[in-house]
């Protein structure tokens, strides 16, 4: 299988996509939407038809959606787009110089353009995962396993109070389970949302009856005959739990690339271990990387940025499709976006807020959970916003991030808009 194309024939390139998650599927769509006519092959190691992940910790776990509703594409839709999807096939390695990937079976597949969309793999604890009742949450099978286990369990311990852990805690409470939420940080989601919004979220969980064990690491998971019975904290106390979710983050799925010349960012540096790409997703000769696994160069921030948000998959996919097809870059600038639903709180964020930023409530009131907060850097530039219940205002502040505005200037603009209204 070779796929050499002559220059100027970009729309006929043979494209191989590794990973059949949202980013990989969106890339195939974006190529076809931009009139790509060449072969498109997608390899995905999971056995399920491509599905979306955000509903896993929300509607699927709660049981309000059947798994089919989270499906990204049916085989009919892929066939109609002339996209060939191979499920349950893991790609084992890539040879950038030879322009080919090797499947786990040993079969080699040549490409003109390679798109790496392998996402991230969950991090695990050094102990406890062999026990019955101990779960992680990345795949549909993970979500269904936890859901089914929760039907018979009474007390869920959630280890890790990031977005995922906080969402699962909320769903488990709504299903009437006792819930303990554990994190070494003092507040839920603290690294991203900071102290003020983190306190608001902690209060919300407390209000809904979650037992918060913040500021505590986990020392061990107790068991009786191979079934989890409790989680022991670093101060020696044991929280009873007949189910546990370990939600302690994820790392880029790049193990299969270690023997290749595809460049990676260092785990503790900007880009957080992701594939090192330029600002249009190029990682190496005819190799692009998109979605959670990819660390794209951000020309405004002047560093590599890796974002584990659903919206980024679509944006990367479109931008890389245009680059592969040698079309003009897509005009619209964008900012990262994420959402998190907990109870009736619909938290929304634009840009890259973090605990290190200065925090300013710029609209509404945090206590009412109806607010917009701006996160600024040391030069007063707005780098992110987080809000809830005020969507029109959120969109206005999103534009300020896009425009690279300082908070002072944005507030003046807002004032003069209000005066002239």
């Amino acid at each position: 299988m070779t796929g050499e194309v002559s220059a100027g024939d970009a729309s006929a390139k043979k494209v191989v996509i590794v990973g059949a998650g949202p980013a990989g599927i969106a890339a195939a769509d974006a190529l076809r939407a931009a009139d790509h006519t060449g072969e498109i092959l997608i390899f995905g190691e999971e056995r399920h038809a491509p599905y979306d992940r955000p509903p896993l910790s929300k509607q699927i776990l709660a049981g309000t959606w059947l798994p089919e509703k989270a499906q990204l594409r049916t085989s009919e839709q892929l066939a109609a787009a002339d996209v060939t999807l191979h499920l349950s096939v893991r790609v084992a390695s890539v040879d950038v110089e030879a322009h080919q990937v090797t499947l786990e079976s040993g079969e080699q597949v040549a490409y003109d353009a390679l798109i790496i969309a392998t996402g991230v793999t969950v991090r695990v604890l050094p102990f406890g995962h062999q026990l019955e009742g101990v779960h992680v949450m990345r795949t549909l099978d993970d979500a269904l396993a936890l859901r089914s286990h929760m039907e018979t369990s009474q007390h869920l311990a959630v280890i890790g109070a990031g977005f995922l852990g906080a969402e699962v805690a909320a769903v488990a409470r709504s299903l009437g389970r006792e819930v303990t939420l554990i994190d070494p940080l003092e507040l839920p989601m603290q690294n991203v949302v900071g102290d003020e919004v983190g306190s608001m979220i902690a209060d919300l969980h407390r209000h809904h009856g979650v037992n918060l064990e913040l500021g505590h690491g986990v020392a061990s998971i107790e068991d009786n005959l191979g079934r989890a019975t409790g989680v022991t904290l670093d101060d020696g106390r044991t929280v009873p739990a007949d189910a546990a979710l370990v939600a302690v983050g994820a790392r880029p799925a790049v193990d299969w690339l270690h023997s290749s010349s595809v460049p990676l960012t260092a785990p503790k540096e900007p880009g957080a271990g992701g594939i090192r790409c330029d600002s249009s997703g190029r990682a190496a000769d005819d190799v692009w990387a998109i979605g959670d696994v990819a660390a794209w160069w951000d020309p405004t921030l002047e560093r590599h940025v890796r974002v584990e948000h659903r919206m980024t998959a679509n944006e990367h996919a479109r931008s890389c499709a245009h680059d592969i097809l040698e079309l003009a870059p897509t005009a619209a600038k964008s900012v990262p976006y994420f959402w998190s639903d907990q109870y009736d709180l619909k938290l929304r964020s634009f840009g890259l807020p973090s605990r290190q930023c200065s925090f300013h409530v710029v609209e509404g009131d945090l206590a009412d959970r109806r607010f917009v907060a701006a996160y600024t850097d040391e030069s007063d530039r707005i780098v992110g916003t987080i809000g809830a219940g005020m969507f029109k205002a959120m969109n206005w502040w999103r534009q300020q991030i896009l425009d690279g505005q300082t908070l002072g200037e944005a507030l003046r603009l807002k004032q003069s808009a209000e005066n002239s209204a």
């Binding site: 969106a26 769509d29 974006a30 939407a33 979306d52 955000p54 509703k69 990204l72 659903r310 919206m311 998959a313 679509n314 944006e315 479109r318 619209a332 976006y337 959402w339 619909k346 929304r348 219940g389 005020m390 969507f391 029109k392 959120m394 969109n395 999103r398």
Partner: protein, 65 residues
């Protein structure tokens, strides 16, 4: 062209409102999108297709009539 919007799947990103502000709007309190125009004219096709492609919740379907 006919647009189908699944409000149960919508996550309120507001992306469609940015792509095609004359076709989509969103509620202020929960961000859920709604249609201003269910059957937009043909010249809105590229904007509406962009909204469909970029929606992070796959809540928009554009049907050609």
């Amino acid at each position: 062209m006919r647009i189908e919007l699944d409000q149960d799947a919508c996550v309120g990103s507001g992306n469609c409102v940015v792509s095609a502000p004359d076709v989509f709007d969103q509620r202020d309190d929960d961000g859920i999108a709604f249609l201003l125009e269910e059957n937009p004219s043909a010249e809105r096709e590229s904007a509406v297709k962009e909204a469909e492609a970029m929606c992070p919740a796959l809540a928009i379907r554009v049907h050609k009539k």
